[in-house]
Amino acid sequence: MQERIPSFLTRKPQPDSPERASGRIRTSFVTKGIETISSVLRTGFIQWETASKRGFFQGIDTRVKVLFLVFFIVIVSLKKTIFSETAMAFFFLGLALASRLDLIKHYGKILALTFAFGFLPAVPSVLNIFTPGDVIFSVFHLEKGHLLGPLVIPREIGLTDEGLRRVVMISLRVMNSLSISLLVFASTPFIEFIRALKVFRVPDVFLMTITLAYKYIFIFARTVFDMHLAKKSRMTGAESDREARQWVSGRMAFMFRKSQQQCEEVFRAMTARGLSDTVKLRRIPLPVTKDWMAGLGLFLSGILFLMI
């Protein structure tokens, strides 16, 4: 082998030290995008870690949690007073505390989503243009009122008491719905959550497909990140956006091929282990006393909230 080593491989690169600095390299949009993809792995890991903690909600049977989720979302939608919604918000906060969630991150997510999907869309309804009522804070005065299609524009435009209540109510409902949903998601491993959907008679083949798709997202993210590292190891300077796009398109084709190959292999592996025309998943063990007690407690809490 030694005699076949090309002569260029025995040459030493010059110089021994890098010359003086010649500018910085900016991070390309592709690199930023791939780093975002890799955060999928991190998010998945954090979800799994949180769901594996020894907390109140983590210890309950997933089916009880799924039923709790549906039951409380109905209650949140039925309630019409700010008091009851606020009481429920505190109840969910208590559950999050008992489940040992990172409250800052958990509520950071909830509040950001509430702001985007609850508060912002509802905020115009504070004005008396959309919600008629007693103006408590005047914003604008017109010389006379107008009629714009179905909208009545009054002379005095301002915030109404009813409008404010409506915005607070919508925001609280969105926040509470998110609190329950994210509490259940954070305290349940995703695979368990999917399995618990059997309660609603979701077919096994569908559950298996979701499970495989979820698993593949992680394999995909890992492979994409490894490909990015492999390219990085051979990059000696900045790349143009055009080069980056070319690389991405080439790698997309590779991933497509790999996905097809993997799909076929998984199917063969399933066939080799007895798959015929139906998928059969194991039955989940029945809930134990602790789960029934927790379920009863949550059910009674729900009834209490319905009554207040």
């Binding site: 082998m1 030694q2 076949r4 080593i5 090309p6 002569s7 260029f8 491989l9 025995t10 040459r11 030493k12 690169p13 021994d16 030290s17 890098p18 010359e19 003086r20 600095a21 010649s22 500018g23 910085r24 390299i25 792995l41 991190r42 890991f45 954090i46 870690e49 492979t223 490894d226 490909m227 590292l229 492999a230 390219k231 990085k232 190891s233 051979r234 990059m235 000696t236 300077g237 900045a238 690389w247 080439g250 790698r251 590779f254 091929r257 790999k258």
Partner: protein
Amino acid sequence: MKPISEIIKIDQVSYRYHGRIPALDNVSLSIRQGAMFSVIGSNGSGKSTLLQIISGLIHPERGAVLFRDHEVSENALRDRTFLKFFRERVGFVFQDPDVQLFCPTVLDELLYGPLQLDLDEKEALSRAEEVMVMLHMEDLKNRPSYMLSGGEKKRVAIGAVLTMNPEVLLFDEPTSGLDPKTQVFLLELLLALNEAGKTIVISTHDLSLVDELQSQVAVLSEEHRIEKIGSAEEILKDEDLLLKVNLIHEHVHYHGQTAHTHIHSHYLFHKH
């Protein structure tokens, strides 16, 4: 200028994946220029992470990596001159060649590195041709990487790094998934490259490879710490150490009707 004998220095490096999963804990070692160096450990001990940190692909949470006395940090690698200086000198061969091969054909793959280094095309082509001859892949020149076998892909991945003529070659699990003939070919290649002056660093749990290469060895424990650094002979003799880091194990089997327990590594210690 005094000759630098220590080409890579790892100083108290710690790393956790996603800021949570520990991969390396306070690891320190140094690698001499022209050395043959192996990092061994069981699965998940942090071997591949260590190699990726050495090659500046990921960066430690704590501690420092020095290449020829220059710190290899995220910030340093944003400097154009240093990036070129470093990547020209340190090559990385990934365990899975699929992630490494992204050019349309084998020839493009071999030319990619030299062209990044601003070599003229003639010189780059000449390097690619020489590497193809050395690695017996002249016939693969115009093939796309997805039409290659596992062993061929590995050779192309190595060739793609060699055309850049790095001083240091990092191989992550070089023999994993290869047939015995390709393994022998790779072993001879590693020895020849080392003989030609290249610093070779490999991560592996293949003790026979370590023995064949007679390298310096750093043993990583399952707690992601350096357990011991020494010569291949010294490390491979230390059964207690290899048992402790799970590179060999006790195993029971039968001779006729008699059950018999002994240390087993699938290589060195299958002795009765």
